[in-house]
């Protein structure tokens, strides 16, 4: 981001200053939802990708039951295409909060013949995750899965309920969404069904970052700027190594980048960024929101990959 960000109400860049009360109210709401679902359902699980939203979610879940231990396990749907930094982080974080980690492996689903992997250098395992997730939910008998989805991620998400019901085939029927008056959550389900709960529904990306800062929640290092060898592909900067191989005609180069989201390494793009600290990231996120079209942009990848990122985060 080279452009000097301009706030709608004049410089400096617009960053709300009433956030403390706002964030606390969001946290109260999330804790209430987590407690309610965890108590109404028999066997919940928290989906933890190692990304920023799930870090906030896990942090809040721990606070919700303190000083008791987290009363449910944490599950990572592991595509096998990970950033090593994220796995290290996952293990440390989960151990620190004393949670039990369940790993649902996409590789295992492939080996078991449950799913067939796409061929070729651009194959992604993103699509396969749903099968692995549903299999794991059935295998462990989970009746509720907490996810870090936020309604500001995209238009479809804007209408997602806090509790989202899945039938025995794991299907979501948008026509049969339950009305959710007040905060009287109705988590009743039939045997074999399960629900997804989204305690962060009302958080925006900026809220997430500000809360991470306020609470000093640790994050994987790839969220902050670092040097990395990347290759431009489909409007994204992909990290070379691991599942990404350089194709003929592509020119890898070293760049100062960071990630806005952590996902499957084969299809998660880095953005050019020098944001090395939480404060830098908050300013960058705030600026990304407010930059007018036509104002100088650091590069075109920025918005494109951001859009892609948001979609991917909405995956669960």
């Amino acid at each position: 981001m080279s452009a000097a960000p301009q706030g709608p109400f004049g410089d400096p860049p617009f960053i709300p200053t009433h956030q403390s009360r706002h964030l606390e109210a969001l946290a109260d709401e999330a804790v209430t939802i987590i407690r309610e679902v965890a108590t109404e359902c028999e066997n919940p699980v928290l989906l933890f990708s190692g990304g920023k939203d799930s870090a906030v979610l896990l942090h809040l879940a721990v606070l919700a039951f303190a000083p008791a231990r987290l009363p449910f396990p944490v599950m990572h749907v592991d595509t096998g295409h990970n950033f090593p930094e994220v796995i290290t982080y996952r293990d440390e974080f989960v151990e620190r909060v004393g949670a039990r980690l369940v790993i649902a492996s996409v590789q295992q689903s492939i080996d078991d013949g449950r799913v067939v992997e796409d061929e070729g250098p651009r194959a992604s395992r993103n699509r396969l995750q749903s099968v692995t997730l549903l299999d794991a939910i059935a295998e462990h008998g989970f009746d509720a899965a907490f996810g870090g989805g936020r309604r500001d991620e995209d238009k479809a998400r804007a209408k997602e309920r806090i509790l989202s019901f899945r039938d025995r085939f794991g299907r979501w029927d948008p026509r049969a969404q339950r009305p959710e008056p007040w905060d009287l959550l109705n988590a009743r389900i039939r045997k074999g069904e399960h629900l997804r709960a989204f305690p962060l529904s009302n958080w925006t990306e900026l809220d997430i970052w500000q809360y991470i800062k306020a609470e000093s929640i640790p994050l994987p290092t790839i969220y902050f700027s670092h040097r990395r060898v990347v290759v431009p592909r489909d409007g994204m900067l992909l990290s070379v190594g691991g599942p990404v191989e350089v194709e003929p005609g592509e020119q890898p180069f070293e760049e100062t980048v960071r990630y806005r989201t952590v996902g499957d390494a084969s299809c998660t793009g880095a953005v050019r960024s020098t944001a090395a600290t939480i404060d830098d990231v908050i300013v960058e996120v705030a600026a990304a929101r407010i930059t007018e079209r036509g104002a100088t942009r650091a590069d075109d990848n920025f918005s494109e990959s951001a859009m892609e990122d948001r979609k991917r985060e909405g995956y669960f």
Binding site: P8, F9, F14, A25, T39, P181, L206, E215, I217, R289
Partner: protein, 437 residues
């Protein structure tokens, strides 16, 4: 790495962004808004305008809107496209649902529940308004107050929304005529004055399309001396403390292994509670004293309504999920009368059985009677043998478990319950209690 199990004391989040100097610090709480209006009154345009003018729109979204607007060829940027997920659905006849939007200014953060305005979607309006501090009701200045407008005002009042922002839109199409504006305001004010629950109307002459009086005051309305809609929303005071007594509907008893700690977790409602306060447990009627309070796992001396807290008591009383800790007097009841909004296809009939949930108490409910159904246009009270989806009515219920009920007008938390279909488990009705016997 920070140990999230550490109990930090104080200072929570107060440091956030303090170093980003140059902006004044506001302590205004987040404002929850429900929007309502008939089709084509300009609701999408208004929300798009608010998102756009507060720079909430991502560049990529804006680029897409520019592109789409150019395709439609009228040169103007069509802000309604920003929220047009709903329109496409409307045309295809699939889900029509409450959508949530978020924006913020330096003064305040806002959450908008955007409720589609079809007559048959009363339930969406109820859902949206149930969590709202304020409702924005749109009217097309050329058409004035229509049946939908009255319906929306009535629902907002039933749900306990104290203030309606009446956005008289498309003022540009009536030459910014003060008389037209006044007659719309007078019309709706006359209607709400006749409602059982009082509602305040604050009116704004706006053009969502051009932006007049939305974010800043317009020069086209020299006769209008009030603030722009957004300025007003930024300053709007919403009572966080209800008029009722403090109550905590116990969600869960927290008992760490190998420790004496026993905390009652829930969301505080009604009024403050502090260490040292005397409480009563309902329905058992036992009393004790608050000896510890935690929020986010950290000790605090005092908690305010809305906070997710844990309470420790001096005595080892028997308390389970569903019980209520109250400060002051409260009584339990097994019969209630209330306004109901019916939300599912299966009709509600006298004698029918449902699950109910009130606070954290779950039990069975039997419909004793349907007292009457509201005609939303004339406000007449009509007899009814059954209630169908989107009906609003008054019913009497008998409950299998006692609840600590209050009238909805004096306590939102104590005065509301939901009915759940036993067969499908779907939420079937929203009830606002009027009488607790």
């Amino acid at each position: 790495m920070t140990n999230v199990l550490d109990v930090h004391d104080g200072g929570l989040m107060t440091t956030v962004l303090e170093e980003h100097a140059g902006l004044h610090v506001s302590t205004m709480p987040t404002l929850r808004i429900a929007t309502a209006g008939s089709v084509d009154d300009g609701k999408s345009t208004l929300i798009g305008r608010l998102l756009h003018d507060t720079k909430t729109v991502f560049e990529d979204q804006l680029a897409a809107v520019h592109k789409a607007s150019a395709r439609y060829g009228d040169g103007e940027v069509n802000l309604a496209l920003l929220t047009d997920g709903l329109r496409a659905e409307r045309e295809q006849g699939i889900t029509i649902d409450v959508a949530h939007r978020y924006f913020a200014t330096p003064a305040r953060s806002f959450i908008v529940a955007d409720t589609p305005g079809h007559a048959q979607y009363t339930r969406n309006m109820v859902t949206g308004a149930s969590n709202a501090d304020v409702a924005i009701v749109l009217v097309d200045a050329r058409h004035g107050v229509v049946e939908q407008t009255r319906r929306h005002a009535f629902i907002a009042s039933l749900l306990g929304v104290h203030t309606i922002a009446l956005a008289v839109n498309k003022m540009d199409l009536v030459d910014w005529d003060e008389g037209e504006f006044d007659s719309v305001v007078k019309d709706l004010t006359g209607f709400v004055d006749a409602l059982p629950t009082p509602v305040e109307i604050v009116a704004f002459p706006i053009s969502a399309l051009l932006g007049d009086n939305v974010v800043s005051h317009s020069t086209s309305t020299p006769w209008y001396e009030g603030p722009a809609l957004l300025e007003w929303l930024e300053q709007l005071d919403v009572a966080t403390e209800g008029s009722g007594a403090a109550r905590l509907d116990v969600q869960r008893v927290i008992r760490p292994q190998g420790s004496d700690y026993r905390g009652y977790a829930g969301r505080l409602a009604g009024a403050r509670v502090a260490v040292g306060d005397a409480i009563t447990v309902q329905p058992s009627g036992r009393t004790s004293t608050v000896v510890g309070l935690q929020r986010f796992g950290r000790d605090t001396a005092c908690a305010t309504p809305g906070e997710a807290i844990t309470i420790e008591l001096a005595d080892d009383v028997d308390i389970a999920r569903g019980d209520v800790l109250v400060l002051g007097n409260a009584v339990s009841t097994e019969t209630v009368t209330g306004q109901v909004c019916w939300m599912i296809d299966r009709p509600l009939e006298p004698g029918s059985r449902w699950w109910f949930k009130h606070g954290t108490r779950v039990g069975r409910a039997i419909v004793e009677s349907i007292e009457y159904r509201h005609d939303l246009t004339t406000l007449e009270q009509l007899p009814a043998d059954e209630l169908r989806m989107n009906d609003l009515a008054v019913i009497r219920l008998s409950l299998s478990e006692p609840i600590v009920a209050e009238a909805y007008v004096s306590s939102r938390e104590g005065g509301r319950l939901i009915l759940v279909d036993e067969a499908t488990n779907t939420t079937a009705g929203a009830v606002m209690i009027t009488t607790t016997s």
